[in-house]
């Protein structure tokens, strides 16, 4: 099975996005797929008032949990240990991968079967395990398709959304032994499933992500549609769950509104096909379930987002993907352009904390701040506002009141800073601004015809022959005369 190298980096966003917008097939695929998801979501929230109310509940629930994050994590850990779950804290990706490796070695496992987990993408688990000779097999159909193609997810909910039915038909006929070419979706799925069945039986270790953790009971909630998540967490002897530290809530009842918002926002479903509540490993007398269970809690920059009030809301995210579905930028450049595990608006606000601002500095600027993301976010994250704060942090040293972010001021360019300084001097002194407008309108024919990015698809921006202030004064004078 092929292992994807990290071929795309967020540093290359400008280059990749340029290529992507020039690719009509990719743009067409994404537009079609996003329109479909937008409509499905809209059908679940027929009236705005209900959505607004439910969102308020979602936002409050997440905010409340985050405000008590350290306490809830303590409580969670105690309850998990009581249930016999091994809890590991991982500071970064390398840490998390090391923990996986240790568990695998202990069980002499050379293969793991994995349910869908974006955090495992974040730490590049498959790649890390491959270098140690351990195979991680994706069991989510979308992820499986990508894995046998050596490809990467382009969406956090629909990882293979950039692929057409025909792409997949061709891929399966080439890569699955004995498979014949068919475009019948059910047949394709059953082909993939029959391969995976054997893997479920053979795997010693099952890996899963987590949607919510419940501090009070030590329960892990897993939302899925294919049943592979349930298989990964019940068939193999060992279950390793991995997630970010922010996913904890206090009580089971807090999951209810979040779950309702998640499935509706993500896929337009009122409920998902499977909703797993996992409370500890197999108990004495039980006939199934893993005999050993681990939970890896990953920080990887999340505490940096937590630390500053203006970035904390980033951690409210429940990874529904609605922000990317509604994002006009994501729709045009596709998920791969971002070069991060999380693409789209959520990616642009979380990746700077996970990877540092210097490598990701082109992501926060890749938004017209249209606000579509913030409008649909089911937990009320003010994404445009956070994008602006990240733009600010990328261009300015921290002002002392705040701690510097990793990569703070890394996008600061002398010329840009000076341009705004000049703009500020001109626009804040009317004795300079008024003559400036006078001259700019008189010399409008001198405005350059090539205006960098602006003239890519537009005629040059040129001042009017006379400014409004002059025309208004003329008009008023005229009136006085009459």
């Amino acid at each position: 099975m092929s292992v994807t190298e990290h071929i795309v980096r967020p540093e290359d966003f400008k280059l990749r996005s340029r290529e992507s917008v020039a690719d009509p097939k990719l743009r067409g695929n994404f537009r079609g797929a996003m329109d479909f998801l937008i409509d499905k979501r809209a059908a679940q929230f027929p009236d705005n008032a209900t959505f607004t109310l439910l969102r308020k509940v979602g936002e409050t629930t997440r905010k409340h949990a985050l405000s008590r994050l350290p306490d809830l994590l303590d409580q969670l850990e105690i309850n998990l240990q009581r249930l016999g779950v091994n809890v590991h804290y991982a500071e970064n990706s390398a840490d998390a991968n090391r923990i996986f490796l240790e568990i695998a070695k202990k069980h002499h496992a050379d293969m793991m079967i994995k349910g869908k987990s974006m955090v495992s993408e974040e730490i590049e688990l498959n790649q890390a395990m491959a270098t140690e000779g351990i195979e991680c097999i994706e069991s989510d159909m979308g992820e499986y398709i990508l894995q046998i193609d050596g490809d990467r997810p382009s969406h956090i909910i629909m990882p293979a959304i950039h692929k057409t039915k025909q792409d997949i038909a061709k891929l399966f006929s080439e890569k699955i032994p004995g498979a014949t070419y068919t475009e019948d979706v059910d047949e394709l799925i059953s082909m993939g499933r029959s391969v995976l069945r054997d893997k479920f039986r053979d795997a010693r270790i099952g890996v899963s992500g987590v949607n919510f953790m419940i501090a009070e009971t030590g329960t892990i909630a897993l939302v899925e549609n294919e049943g592979n998540g349930r298989m990964c967490t019940t068939i193999p002897d060992v279950h390793i769950a991995i997630t970010g530290i922010e996913k904890v809530v206090e009580k089971l009842e807090h999951v209810v509104p979040l779950y309702a918002l998640l499935t509706r926002s993500a896929t337009g479903q009122a409920v998902s096909t499977y909703f797993n509540l996992i409370t500890g490993p197999r108990r004495v007398g039980e006939k199934d379930g893993p005999r050993e269970m681990h939970l890896i809690l990953l920080d990887n920059g999340r505490t940096q987002a937590y630390r500053e009030e203006k970035f904390r809301a980033t951690l409210q995210c429940i990874r529904c993907g609605a922000c990317m579905n509604h994002c006009p930028v994501y729709t045009r450049v596709g998920g791969h352009s971002y070069g991060t595990a999380y693409p789209g608006p959520i990616g642009s606000i979380i990746s700077p904390h996970l990877l540092g601002l210097s490598g990701t500095r082109d992501l926060p600027t890749a938004s017209s701040l249209c606000g579509a993301c913030g409008e649909v976010c089911p937990v009320g994250i003010p994404i445009p506002e956070i994008l602006m704060r990240l733009r600010e942090a990328a261009r300015n040293n921290s002002d002392g009141a705040d701690q510097a972010l990793r990569g703070q001021a890394s996008a600061r360019k002398m010329l840009e800073a000076l341009t705004w300084k000049a703009w500020r001097i001109l626009y804040s002194n009317s004795f300079l601004y008024r003559p400036f407008v006078f001259i700019a309108t008189r010399l409008r024919w001198l405005t350059p015809t090539n205006q960098a990015g602006w003239t890519t698809s537009r005629t040059p921006l040129r001042p009017a022959p006379r400014a409004m202030r002059e025309l208004l004064a003329q008009r008023n004078k005229q009136r006085e005369k009459n």
Binding site: S428, T455, R458, A464
Partner: protein, 271 residues
């Protein structure tokens, strides 16, 4: 937000004798006719319009690019220009949003300026909103010449100012106007201030799609209440040698009112 809403509600309740006009730097320098038309319509309702000559810009371009401290100084230079308790009419949802929602944030740690910013925020009203809620101009006598109109709503008007219904409501009051709705109507036109320069290909792709969708309706006119979006859309239309040009809602209304006899030439000039 609450004070701003209360402010908007207050302006709705009674017609002031006078208003301030904050033209925005875009209208002042690039689209002066839109501003003149807006002023003209306000005056028709018997309201005096004061244009403070020291005004320049709301500071948004620097603010959204990550240079708040520069934005703050430019915004600060506007704070003393609106001393009387009159509404501040802004012919742009985007700049209106800056005054109403972001100025108070900009001066959060400067109590003196904060008070002024809050006061202005509460009096800030976007032009089409002002037309609907306060002016109450009778538009029924406007030209009845049939015209199909596509409306482009700026994202700020839609999502920050919540005044995207107002333009449509105004258009409904005029005879002969048929509003057509373009595909992906609520999607951004791709302008986004410095976004259009920092990510020109993405911005251009968005602008192209928007203009494609608008021209596909076969509309006679394109209306918006935001000159930022119009610069973007018109620049694109001109580059592709299309004869359609977007115009500010004030210009459209004024022309319809001035040609109430239904002059057949109307359509050409409205383009």
């Amino acid at each position: 937000m609450n004070t701003a809403l209360q402010g908007a509600a207050q302006t709705a309740s009674k017609k002031p004798s006078q208003v301030y006009f904050f033209a925005t730097c875009v209208i002042d320098m690039f689209s002066p006719q839109s501003g003149l038309d807006a002023v003209d319509l306000i005056e028709r309702a018997g309201i005096k319009v004061l244009f403070p000559l020291k005004q320049s810009c709301c500071g948004q371009p620097a603010y959204t690019t990550g240079f708040s401290s520069d934005a703050r100084l430019v915004a600060a230079a506007q704070l003393d220009l609106f001393p009387a308790p009159w509404p501040v009419v802004v012919p742009s949802g985007s700049c209106g949003g800056m005054l109403r929602h972001h100025w108070p944030k900009l001066f959060a740690d400067d109590p003196v300026r904060l008070e002024k910013a809050r006061d202005i925020a509460a009096r800030t009203v976007e032009f089409s909103e002002f037309m609907v809620n306060t002016l109450g101009l009778d538009l029924s006598g406007a030209s009845a010449q049939p015209v199909t109109v596509a409306v482009h709503t700026s994202c700020t008007a839609r999502r920050e100012m919540d005044n995207h219904h107002h333009v449509r409501r105004l258009l409904k009051q005029m005879p002969g106007v048929e509003v057509v709705v373009q595909e992906h109507e609520s999607e951004c036109c791709g302008f986004g201030g410095t976004f259009s320069v920092k990510h020109p290909e993405i911005s251009s792709a968005m602008a192209r799609d928007k203009v494609d969708a608008i021209t596909a309706t076969g509309c006679d006119a394109l209306i918006s209440a935001d000159c930022g979006c119009l610069l973007n859309l018109n620049g694109n239309l001109e580059k592709r040698a299309d004869i359609l040009r977007g115009e500010h809602v004030a210009t459209f209304i004024r022309n319809r009112l001035d040609h109430s006899s239904g002059s057949p030439n109307r359509l050409e000039t409205s383009k």
